[in-house]
Subunit: 118 residues, 2 copies
DNA sequence: GCAGTACACAACCACACAGTAGTGTAGTTG
DNA sequence: CAACTACACTACTGTGTGGTTGTGTACTGC
């Protein structure tokens, strides 16, 4: 498998929608937090509520979105629902984003340095 | 440079916001289309309007969002504003997303195959 | 100067969605 | 069965924003 599959040009409309939809799922701090916690390992809804300091209803709702998007998996065990990361690529996405943020910060830093050095 | 920088746990709140904000910029089909077109090379607003079949005002607005996020750069030349991709990582992000989509499709395919084979 | 072109900004509307409150539903315990 | 726990679903509200319309601004050519 090629590490980077070249995408067609122009991207067909439905694919564009799918891509945007997927980004939209990740465009929410609460959901990033949930994924961040799940990085440590599986967790029940209660544990995720504790980790995010949010309401149970809210956590449950966002978990549903992540589940529908296929980013997480769900396993029922008695009264408890255990959630886990189902698509490790989300972490690569976050790292790539953070890389972009770092690059921007570096550029800003360079500009400031140039501005103050003279 | 390490290919993958391990992120801290848990992610600090401001970083979570920044990550989500960055995903939010990409969570819009129109902006994906604009970036897709810019992949071919620089383009004026007029060219981008033609490529997206949208209004000039709308394209201009979305370009502003992409510019503020640092995904694209702007160069004025007479009456024309030339936009270009400033952060190539967006394409890796899109490819990663597409990879996730493909994986999901494959899983669905497997389920369907199993369901119809018996 | 005047007209025309290329782009950006502001105001508006309509829709989507995050968060909350309340309720429903399994499963467990006594 | 009754009470409790853990979680999901529904309805509602406020906020944010995508798209459109209208206008402003800067540059070009006559």
């Amino acid at each position: 498998m090629t590490a980077v599959t070249t995408l067609s040009h122009p991207l067909p409309e439905p694919l564009v929608e799918l891509i945007a939809e997927r980004f939209r799922v990740l465009a929410e701090p609460m959901r990033i937090k949930l994924l961040d916690r799940l990085r440590e390992g599986d967790a029940t809804v209660g544990e995720l509520v504790a980790a995010t300091s949010s309401s149970q209803q809210n956590v449950s709702k966002h978990l549903r979105v992540l589940l529908d998007a296929g980013f997480v998996g769900r396993r029922q065990e008695g009264n408890f629902a255990h959630y886990s990361v189902a698509d490790e690529s989300v972490f690569r996405l976050c790292e790539e984003v953070c890389g972009g943020l770092r690059r921007q910060l570096a550029e800003l830093d360079a500009v400031i340095a140039e501005g103050t050095a003279r």
